[in-house]
């Protein structure tokens, strides 16, 4: 095996967290930083050519090559696990920028109580309201500790939105249920497409508190504190599953990578698939990887950081035998994401226009902002409508229940009529952690190199099913208030379905916590037993709060970077 000269820091994965960490370390220290990315590089010109629904939206050109590696899935520990043979419920990106290139850009902060879910729930409702079989725990960090880093992450990306809570004072028109913010959003909210305007007006009439979605698809030209400029969004409607052709959507390649372009202490190697993290005597020593030419390479490093997306972080720890407390793989969660109601209108909606985060939400039923005393579930989420750009292959043929046929003349006529008259009210909900939702290595199926696939054991429980049913009823009321002539409510959450796209917010596996015994990493994402090993990203989240995860993952990465620069370099050892 080829052995390369040691670097100070090796980072596995060139997505949001890996490249942000590289930017902080490379620009603020003289450490040599190497990022290993398994995919290729992306050129901005590719994203203009990528405005093709078939190759990108349906055949998923930006995603990892599933023919080489996938996960296996089963509902329960006694079921037979089978490979997810074609992409379905989540879409991990490939190449420089990772999933941060094809994301939608909805950029929530989590509510303060989400970080203390266990203690707050027990305090208010008693321990018997925690669902049976749960493995819920606090994060070991508070919202107020993370707040300055949220602000930095928002400024780096130029998030568009309207504050709903400035220094503890509610601000009408923003999300009044969010935690206290120290600053307004860096850029004003996005423009409001027609369907979202209908949602805003209807929810206002119903007495709720609509607000514009916080958006990384920036509303106007913006220069961030690193001096990187981006254009304002053009609402072309090609965000999720696509890269932004004008760079208005904050992506690692247009926001972080430009800062690194002139760093002499930074190197990015593409086509490098990391297979193991090396550790001995309680120290991470580097990684092994297969390079683009197929050679096995040993890359020694002083600090090892895993930043390769949730599932792969977990898999690398397991493949490397780094699981000291038997906690790796625990607290697997997947953001609840449902079409809470499909609404059919008389007037055309012009839904081909839009952006991944151009929409309006209400969080009146989020977290614990509404009383659950008499309800049969805990926690909640966000009801929203987003006009992400309606493309025909994925969306043609959705008709109200009054249309019985699914092909032929009658169906065609109805589908043509309703094509631009169909709106969706969506719900994103908090997914709690359960002992029987977890990841381990599959005993049967292997990847291209012969390494075991990761096995997901995952199913919904009654708390999620009841929450989804409750939110679906609320969405139906809102749809009617919006003027829908027919509404199809969500049929209900049954078993976890690996074939229905939900979101790429699948989390947990290397969770953070306040104590060594209950978690894999501390609140600096530093491995408890291996101080020079860090595991970045949403693999650290013990539960899956209602908001989209990227902003929180980046805030935690900023905090870790500061701790490494301010303390760890001089005094390598446990940070917490």
């Amino acid at each position: 095996m080829k052995r390369l000269p040691e670097v100070d820091v090796v980072i596995v994965g060139g997505g949001w967290n890996g490249l942000l960490m590289a930017k902080e370390l490379a620009t603020r220290t003289s450490l040599s930083i190497l990022v290993l990315e398994r995919g290729g590089s992306h050129k901005p010109s590719e994203y203009v050519e990528g405005m093709d629904e078939l190759d990108y939206g349906i055949r998923l050109k930006m995603m990892q090559d599933i023919s080489e590696e996938t996960v296996t899935f089963r509902h329960g520990p006694r079921d037979r696990s089978l490979p997810v043979r074609q992409y379905g419920s989540f879409l991990p990106g490939s190449g420089v920028g990772g999933s941060g290139e094809h994301w939608s850009g909805i950029s929530y902060r989590y509510t303060p109580d989400a970080f203390e879910l266990h203690s707050r729930t027990v305090e208010k409702y008693g321990a018997n309201r925690l669902p049976e079989g749960h493995s819920i725990q606090d994060w070991g960090i508070s919202y107020s500790e993370l707040e300055p880093y949220y602000t930095r992450a928002e400024k780096m990306m130029g998030i568009s939105g309207k504050a709903g809570n400035l220094h503890g004072k509610p601000v009408q028109g923003g999300n009044v249920f969010e935690g206290p913010r120290s600053e307004e959003y860096p850029t004003p909210p996005m423009k409001v497409p027609y369907l979202a305007a209908l949602f805003r007006d209807a929810t206002e009439r119903l007495g709720y508190h609509p607000f514009p979605l916080p958006a990384a698809t920036t509303s106007r030209a913006y220069k961030n504190p690193d001096g990187v400029s981006r254009a304002g969004c053009s609402y072309c409607g090609y965000c999720e599953r696509f890269g932004c052709m004008i760079g208005a959507k904050a992506q690692p390649t247009n926001t972080v990578l430009p800062v690194l372009a002139h760093s002499r202490n930074f190197e990015l190697r593409t086509g490098c698939r990391v297979r193991r993290t090396l550790r001995d005597a309680g120290h991470a020593r580097g990684v092994t990887y297969v390079n683009a030419q197929g050679e096995e390479v040993v890359q020694p490093a002083g600090i090892v950081m895993l930043a390769s997306w949730t599932l792969n972080n977990t898999r690398l720890l397991l493949l490397s035998g780094i699981d000291d407390a038997g906690k790796v793989g625990r607290n697997l969660t997947h953001h609840i994401s449902i079409p809470a109601a499909m609404a059919f209108f008389e007037k055309p909606l012009n839904r081909f226009m839009g952006a991944g985060a151009a929409g309006i939400a209400i969080n009146d039923f989020d977290a614990d902002v509404f009383d659950h005393g008499k309800l049969d579930f805990i926690r909640g989420g966000s009801l929203y409508t987003v006009c992400y750009g309606f493309r025909p292959m994925a969306n043609f043929g959705v008709t109200p229940a009054s249309v019985k046929s699914t092909w032929g003349s009658e169906w065609k006529k109805a589908s043509l009529h309703y094509y631009d008259r169909t709106g969706r009210i969506s719900f994103y909900g908090e997914h709690l952690a359960y002992r029987d939702n977890y990841m381990d290595l599959d005993p049967t199926y292997k990847d291209r190199h012969g390494d075991p696939l990761l096995r997901l054991t995952l199913d919904w429980r009654d708390n999620e099913r009841r929450m989804a049913a409750f939110m679906s009823r609320k969405a139906e009321q809102i749809a009617k208030e919006m003027g829908a002539t027919e509404v199809t409510p969500f049929p209900g959450l049954k078993r976890y379905d690996a074939t229905r796209y939900q979101s790429t917010h699948i989390q947990g596996g290397a969770i953070m916590g306040a104590k060594e015994g209950n978690s894999v990493v501390n609140n600096y994402l530093q491995h408890w037993q291996t101080p020079n090993l860090f595991v970045l990203g949403a693999s650290a989240f013990p539960q899956n709060p209602s908001g989209n995860p990227t902003l929180t993952a980046l805030a935690l990465t900023y905090r870790t970077a500061d701790a490494i620069i301010d303390r760890f370099i001089r005094n390598p050892g446990p940070l917490a």
């Binding site: 074609q86 072309c236 226009m353 025909p392």
Partner: protein
């Protein structure tokens, strides 16, 4: 090497429509007075009989009728032919390591057959469809409408209606015109919050028209 097959289309049978050639150019074929115009399109995957069968099925799923043109005019069969001959049809986008075992529906399709193989098998169930009358065609398809093969046919028919024309379907942007989809456009910044409650229908443009050059479709990738 497979023997080369062609799909022969007669302008009279199509009644004066757009078809899509392999040069990626839409051609409007009119029935000339007393003159029989035919077009021979080279096929990549189907035999001619299979192509006619699939075209007949697609035309029942998305018919040409008083609500507008359908699968025949859009060239859906050409789209499907290219997809099945390309990486998708040959299972390039699926994890295909054994063992194959039946699962629960939530685990997704677990079969070992590629889309190309599913078509080869499925077509045996509707052989000669194009030779039947309309009501017999409908009855035949109704018998298989709950099979995975029909589900593929339906999905691919929708895709062939509304794909960018570089993929062989949506000839002359006929599908996009039907639904008012403008195709890829650089900006709606001036329109996104206008047109509340009324139609905004810019003229559709293909990706090649927007780029000013051809892009390479995924089915042509090695």
């Amino acid at each position: 090497m497979r023997r080369r097959h062609f799909l022969t289309l007669s302008a009279t049978s199509l009644g004066g429509v757009l078809v899509y050639t392999l040069a990626r150019k839409p051609i409007r074929v009119h029935a000339q007075d007393g003159q029989q115009t035919t077009l021979k399109l080279p096929l990549r995957f189907f035999t001619e009989a299979q192509a006619l069968t699939v075209a007949a099925a697609a035309a029942q799923i998305f018919p040409s009728d008083d609500s507008g043109p359908g699968a025949n005019e859009a060239g859906v069969v050409i789209y499907i032919d290219r997809q099945l001959a390309g990486p998708y049809g040959q299972d390039r986008f699926r994890y295909t390591s054994p063992p194959f075992a039946p699962g629960v529906p939530e685990q997704g399709y677990q079969g070992s057959e590629s889309p190309a193989q599913l078509y080869r098998e499925g077509l045996k169930q509707i052989r000669g469809l194009h030779l039947l009358g309309p009501s017999e065609q409908q009855a035949t398809l109704t018998r298989i409408e709950h099979t995975p093969f029909f589900s593929l046919l339906r999905t691919h028919t929708i895709e062939g209606m509304f794909c960018d024309p570089m993929h062989g379907g949506n000839a002359g942007l006929i599908g996009w015109q039907l639904i008012g989809f403008p195709g890829p456009r650089m900006s709606y910044a001036g329109e996104i919050d206008k047109y509340y409650g009324r139609e905004f229908r810019p003229e559709p443009l293909s990706l090649a028209q927007v780029l000013g050059r051809n892009a390479k479709p995924g089915e042509d990738a090695k």
